[in-house]
């Protein structure tokens, strides 16, 4: 099998994971104007929670759902317990979530230690998938599938449901929405929990092929930031396009300049910012 197909598949599967994580980030950012720098830490916690559940005998899907619910509850606590006090002040919100990120990261180190873990996947997803002369790990193809399904689900949620319509309206003008008698506060909380749940789910998905280790949270956070900076805040399509771009850059960068892989994301981000400071699909507030 040619290297290029292999790399393309690697990029696509990594993009799927990035999308799951970054879509949560961009939803919260777009609607609530909150940049949740604890998003990477929530990803890591999701992964570790999934690991613990599967070590206690839960199967892969139970771990994934359990982690998503657990992290959604953490999101609820962060939103109601902390962010409430700094409402309306973007700078204080960001720095507060940065504080939360440090606390959670260190807490994860206390609870799960500094070793590298990998979440076990079901046996039928283990091993390579062979089709003609293409051989590729089954699990990574599964991640791609889940990423696409989540994109469709989120798109349906945003485009076809009342909640989605309210979220979209809130992204554009939350004051008017609340003036029309909608309890926007509740929608904010749902969105925050949904965004956190996506981070937690991403943690389990990623924890099974990228492994979990103490600095995994900042790595995924940088990638998510790059996705949102490129894609523009609050846009699902932007998150999808951004994920694909960032994943390709990261993968091909790793092949061509293994030591400077991080650096490769930087160039396009720079060019993009020069022409579109709000990202490809971002709208001015």
């Amino acid at each position: 099998m040619s290297m290029t197909i292999f790399q393309l598949l690697n990029s696509a599967t990594f993009a799927a994971l990035l999308f799951v994580v970054a879509s949560g980030f961009t939803l919260i950012f777009g609607l609530m104007r909150i940049v949740n720098l604890a998003h990477g830490a929530l990803y890591l916690f999701g992964g570790y929670l999934g690991l613990t559940i599967s070590m206690m005998g839960g199967n892969f899907y139970v771990s994934a759902i359990g982690a998503a619910i657990g992290v959604a509850l953490m999101g609820l606590i962060i939103d109601l317990g902390l962010l409430r006090f700094v409402k309306g002040n973007e700078l204080r919100q960001v720095l507060l979530t940065l504080g939360v990120a440090f606390v959670l990261n260190d807490l994860a180190l206390v609870l799960w230690g500094g070793d590298t873990y990998s979440i076990p996947v079901p046996s039928y997803l283990d091993g390579p998938f062979e089709m003609g002369d293409v051989t590729y790990p089954k699990y990574r193809l599964f991640v791609l599938l889940v990423g696409i399904l989540i994109f469709i689900a989120l798109w349906l949620l945003m485009a076809k449901t009342k909640l989605g319509a309210l979220i979209r309206a809130g992204v554009d003008d939350s004051e008017t929405v609340s003036a029309m008698g909608v309890d926007i506060r509740k929608i904010f909380i749902y969105t925050f929990m949904l965004g956190a749940a996506l981070a937690g789910l991403g943690g389990v998905m990623g924890g099974a092929f990228l492994t979990l280790y103490p600095t995994a949270d900042s790595e995924i956070l940088v990638f998510s930031l790059a996705v949102v900076i490129i894609g523009g805040r609050g846009s699902l399509v932007g998150a999808a396009v951004g994920s694909i771009l960032v994943a390709m850059l990261a993968n091909f960068g790793q092949v061509w300049f293994p030591e400077l892989a991080y650096f490769v994301i930087f160039g396009p981000m720079a060019v993009l910012l020069a022409f579109r400071p709000l990202g490809l699909f971002g709208k001015a507030s």
């Binding site: 940049v35 973007e90 204080r92 991080y262 650096f263």
Partner: protein, 310 residues
Amino acid sequence: MQTLKSKYSLLIVVLSLALLVTVPLLFPGYKTSIATEILIFAILAMSIDILAGYTGRTPLCHGAIFGVATYVMLYYVTEMGGSPWVGVLFAVFASILVSIIFALLAIRTSGVYFILLTLALGMIVWGVCLRWTSVTGGENGLRGSVTPLWLQDKVTLYYFIASCFVVLVWMMWRFVNSPFGLTLKGIRDSESRMRTLGYNVPLHLFLGFVVSGFFAGVAGALYAFFNSFVSPSTVALAQSTEGLLMAIVGGAGTLFGGIIGAALVISLENIVSLYTERWLMVIGFMFIFMMIFAPSGVLGAVRNFIKSRQ
């Protein structure tokens, strides 16, 4: 600080200088080293305050700019066998270069986007330092003394750093109170007004960023004398965050707040580390606490108090 009568200001300056001179007598032994560390990080915190407090752009990349200087210093002196003084020049030059690249990108953004972008830029430096093993030594970092023989004594090193500190603080004080610095304040308060008045806002932001990066770079180069070791954690987000925390604890937009912040944070770090290894968690909680209860910091609170009395 303008609200304080100049007589009191002079008194405070004299007392501070007296304290600076007597530190090795008041705090002998390893405490002198802690004081040295406080002075270095105070420079970093004040350089961050130039942007965060005076320009209204909160950066999360200054740990990277600081650490680049430390890396260059150690690489030039220990790997290439150069003189430490030439190393300082190269180190500061490298920091300025990094600042120029960061500034060109970051000044296009403001508010939260500025934080995000500088965070991502800083993380890229961290990623490069971690992975570019042949130059940076990867996770092991670079080790080796860059300190000339006459500076090896802890007290001499303290006085050397303290002298640099006084000069740098004076420079920064002059900078933020210069017409240029006042323009930055004007941009912080209302960018559109300054633009209407005919100021070249992007150019001011760019230069403000690079000046701030210059001071962070000098602090990073001095840190090499102090520490003789650099690893990716020197350029990591935690470093940028700690610097910003010092600026905020002291009071953003007060410049000298950075000194108080650095003293508080580093003293606390040394006390806490006697009992627990959970320093990151403490920093995190401090951030949460500051943001909820005391966002204007120590000097900010003093200033508000004085204003309310007048």
